[in-house]
Symmetry: C2
Amino acid sequence: MLRSHNCGELNIKDIDKKVVLCGWVQKSRDLGGMTFIDLRDRYGITQLVFNMNTDAELCKKARKIGREYVIKAKGIVVERSNKNKNMPTGEIEIIVNDLEILNESKVPPFTIEDNTDGGEALRMKYRYLDLRRNVNKNNLVLRHKMAMEIRNYLNAADFLEIETPFLIKSTPEGARDFVVPSRMNTGKFYALPQSPQTFKQLLMIAGLDRYYQIVRCFRDEDLRADRQPEFTQIDCEMSFVEQEDILNIFEGLAKHLFKTIKNIDADTFPRITFADAMKYYGSDKPDIRFDMKFVELNDVMQGKGFKVFDDAEIVVGICAENCGSYSRKQLDKLTDFVKKPQVGAKGLVYIKCNDDGTFKSSVDKFYSQEDLKIVAEKTNAKPGDLVLILSGETEHTRKALCELRLEMGNRLGLRDPEKFAPLWVTDFPLFEWSEDKQRFLAKHHPFTAPKPEDLDLLEKDKKNVRSNAYDLVINGNEIGGGSIRIHDKNLQKRMFRALGFTEEQAQQQFGFLMNAFEYGAPPHGGIAFGFDRWCAVLSGSESIRDFIAFPKNNSGRDIMIDSPSSISDEQLDELNLKNIEKE
Amino acid sequence: MLRSHNCGELNIKDIDKKVVLCGWVQKSRDLGGMTFIDLRDRYGITQLVFNMNTDAELCKKARKIGREYVIKAKGIVVERSNKNKNMPTGEIEIIVNDLEILNESKVPPFTIEDNTDGGEALRMKYRYLDLRRNVNKNNLVLRHKMAMEIRNYLNAADFLEIETPFLIKSTPEGARDFVVPSRMNTGKFYALPQSPQTFKQLLMIAGLDRYYQIVRCFRDEDLRADRQPEFTQIDCEMSFVEQEDILNIFEGLAKHLFKTIKNIDADTFPRITFADAMKYYGSDKPDIRFDMKFVELNDVMQGKGFKVFDDAEIVVGICAENCGSYSRKQLDKLTDFVKKPQVGAKGLVYIKCNDDGTFKSSVDKFYSQEDLKIVAEKTNAKPGDLVLILSGETEHTRKALCELRLEMGNRLGLRDPEKFAPLWVTDFPLFEWSEDKQRFLAKHHPFTAPKPEDLDLLEKDKKNVRSNAYDLVINGNEIGGGSIRIHDKNLQKRMFRALGFTEEQAQQQFGFLMNAFEYGAPPHGGIAFGFDRWCAVLSGSESIRDFIAFPKNNSGRDIMIDSPSSISDEQLDELNLKNIEKE
C-alpha cells in the first residue's frame, strides 16, 4: 500500500507514530512560518503541517501544491495545540518530513465543498469531481450499506440471490421496452427487462422457493423529473405463502433497515385499503407523518343553495390546525395554489373557527353558524383552526385535496424528513381504465391474482375487481409493491382474456409462462422495491438521482460520457439496420 | 405460510409433531394397503404415508396424484420402521391426515431425477423443470453462497459496492458491443457495457478508493461453446496500491472462497511470469495440478542430421511418467491427437525409457543412446517413462505441446476436479499483434500500465513491452485478470498514440476519461473475475452454462422464452430504424 493509514482514522492514541498518508488537497493555508494542508480521502480529513524553520525546502514544495492535487506525505503524528473537536482527527496533525506529488490537478470547475458553487449541468458533466463532495460520497456509502443489510436480512431468511437474464424478449404490454438488435439472429431483437417478473415466477415453478435479486431494470418512458431510464429494483418472490406472510417478511426487512441504517425501532406498520387511502388521503401513497384526514361533507353542505356544492359529486374538507388566523392574502394564496393546473381545483372554500366559538367562511351567505358548527365537529376543528373544502368530481377532487393537504403539511412543518411513517396499502384494484387505449389494463401486471371473492366480477364489472396486491409506502413515497400471483393456468387464461388478449397473443407473448403453469406451479407471490427511491427516502431526500453514482439527465443522456451517441455505419450494417430520416 | 416445515428439516427429534408440508411429488409407490409419496422441495425430500386401513378415501385420493403435482399435506411425524440413513429425513415419515392438491402437473417431458432422460435442447426449453433437478438447484445454491462470501470478504475489507450504468457508450476498441437504439435521441445509440472499466476508474478518480460490483457484462461475439453473450463479472478496483497489494487482497478472496465453499485451506499461490508460463506450459493459463513441465531440447536434438528438428525454431519435450510401456497403437493415437487441426503439430517424436536403462525412440537412426540419455536426464525421465517431443515454430509448437500435456494429464488421471491448483500469471505483454487488423492492439485494454522499466520500448519495440497485468488461474482456467492502470494523462496519451489512435479519436472515444485525468487521478489498479467460470471451476465443472439460471444456447438464443424475436413495426418506427434485407 502506498499509505499506512487513511485520512480519517488517526487520533490522539496515535501520537508519535510514523505514518504515510495519501489523498487529495482539500485546502492549504500559508501562515508565514507554517503551511497547513487539509488532506482528504474517502475516510476523512487530516491536517498536514510543514514548518519553514525545520525544513524550508519541503515547506516551499508544499506551498506550490494546488487544490485537488494527489499527494503522499510521510510524517509523525503530533498533538495539535489548536484542537478541532468537530472532526475525528481534530486532535492531531502530521508533521511532514517527506512529500511526493502523485498527480497534479487543474483547478476544478467548481469547489469540492459541501456547499459548492457548481450548477447541476456542470456537476453532472464532472460527476467524478462531484462525487468527491461529502454529500454525494455519503449517499453512495449509504446505498452500499443498505444493499448489504438487505442481503444480510434476506440471506438469513433463506432467500437465494439468483441472477436472471438481461437480454430477454419484448412484450407490448406495459411500458415501452428498450430493445437490442441481435446480429446473430438477423432482424430479431432482444429487450432489456422492465423487471424480472416472469423469470422470478419461473424460479418459483422451478421450486426455488425464496428468491431475491438487487437488479437493474429498464423502461423507455418519456422521462419526468426524477425518473431514470435505468433503475435498480430489489426483486423478491416466495412460494407457499399468502399475502400476510409477504407483508410480515418484508415489513421485517423495512424494520431491519430502519434499525441498521437509521437506528430507529419502528412500530408495526399500519395498513389501509386502497379504497380507504383514496377516501381519507386522496392518494394511494399517503403521507401519514401527519393526520389531516379527509372528511366528506356532502350531507351538511349540500341542499343549502350553494350551487357549486349542490352540483358536486363530492364535498370534502380537511382541518388545518391553528390556521384560523390566516389573512386574506394567505387564503388567496391557497386558492391560487389549488387552482394551479397541476392541482386543478376550481376554487377553495374555507371556514375559520374563531377563538370565540363563531365561524367565518367564504360562503357565509349559504350556511348558518349552526351548519358551520356541524362541519367543525365533523372535521374535528377547534377554535383557531381552519377548515379547507373542495368539491367536484370525486377522483379529481380527492387528488386536488391531496395536494392541498401536502401543501398544508409543508406549511405547518409536519413533513419532517427525519421522521418516518411507513404503511401498507392493500386491496388495489386489479384493473385500471386507460383513456388512451380505451380499454382496461392490468393496474399492476397481468399475473396479479384477483381476490377470490371478486372473481365473479372479472368479466362483468372489471372496475370493482380487487386484487391481492399491496404497496409499501413511506412518507408519501411508494417504496415497493407486489402481489400474490395467479398460479392456476385457467385463471391466467381468463385474466388474459379479460385484458383483451386473444388466445394467440397470449400464447405468443407469454406462452412459456402459460406452458410452465402446466407443470405444477406452486402458490406464490412477491414484491419489488425501488432501491434508488428507498435510499432517497431514508435520507430524507426527494431526488433519486443523488443516490445513483452515474445518473442520466432528464433527456436520458449521460452528459459526462456523452451518451447515447452515433455508431458507425459498419455497426449498423452488421445489425442489418438503417437509420431513417423523418421529415 | 402454507407449510409449517420444509421437506428437508424433519428428523427423529420431531416425532409426534403435527406438521404441514408443501412440495412436488417426486414419486409415489402404491404397496396395496399403503401408499408412499416422496414429497420434494428445495430443501429435501420427506416421505408421506397413506394407509388404506385407516383412511381409505384419503389413500385413494393420494393414489391419483401424479409426478410433479404440487400438494399440501397435513400429518404427524412418526419414526420409520425401514430407515434410510442416506437422507437427512430418512428416519421419519409423515402419516398424512389431510391432503390438498395445490396444482396439477402434466407428465413432465423428462424425468426430474439426478440422471435424467432429457436431451439438452429439451431441458433448455423447459429450464424451469430442469432447475428442479438437484444438480442444477445445487449449482444455483453454490452460486448464491459464493456471491454472499465474496461480498462478506470485500465488505469487511472496506470495499464499497457501487452500481455503474448499463446504458453507456459504444467504443470500437475491443470486442463488439451490443447497442441499444435511443428513442428520445433520434439516430443515437447506447451500448451495453463489456465491463465497467472506465466507470470504475472514474470512481477511483472520485476518491472512492475501494470499489466492487458483481455485475452483468455483455459481448456480442460469435459464440463458441461455453460462451454467453451476457455473463457476470466480479469487478474490483483500488486506489493507492501497487500490484503486490492487489495480488494479496484478491489471493485472500480466493482463499476465503476455497475455505468457505470447499473447506480447503489453500497455500500461498505460486506466481509465474507470462514468459515462463509460455516457456514451461505453452499457455498463459497453465494447469499446474500436475508438473510435466516443458523442457527445451534444441541443444541435444539439433545438428544430428534429423532435418525436422534441425529446421525447427524449437524442439521441446515433456516426460509422461510410467508411459514407457505404451504400445505402438497407443503411440499412434497420440500422434493422431497432435495432428488434429485444433492441435496442429506435424508429428510426434517419442523416446521410451526402458526398464533396463536403454532407450527406444521413433528417431533412433539419428540419435545415439548417449543422446537419448541426455534427453532423459534433461526431462527428468526415469526408466519406465515416456518422453514426447514436438518441434517447429516456437509459439505454435508450445501451443501444441500444451494440448498434448493436458491430454497426457487427462490420461494419467492427473487433473482431479476435486484438487485445486491456483496460481498468478504476471508480467503479461502490453500489446498483442493482430493479424486481422495488421497492427498492435492492447492485450488487456488501453488503460493498462506498462512496466516502468519497459517504457522506453513503447514506441520502438511494442512486442517486448511488459505490463503490470496479472491473471488468476485455477486448474487451467483463467478466473480473472487485471492490471495497474495508467493514471498519468501524458502516459495515457502516449498509449493511445502507440495503439494508433489519432488525438481526435482518443478524445472522441475516451475524452471523458482523459479529462478526468486532468483533475487528480490517484494511482490505482484492479481486477475482474468471471463469476460464472469461478462457480464452475470450484464445482469441478467445465460448463459455465450449468451455473446460470437461464442461459442462452450457442446461437445466443433463449429457447425457453423464444428470444430474440421480432418486434412490431411501430416499435422500429419509434426508433427511426428500418430492417434491411440482404441478398
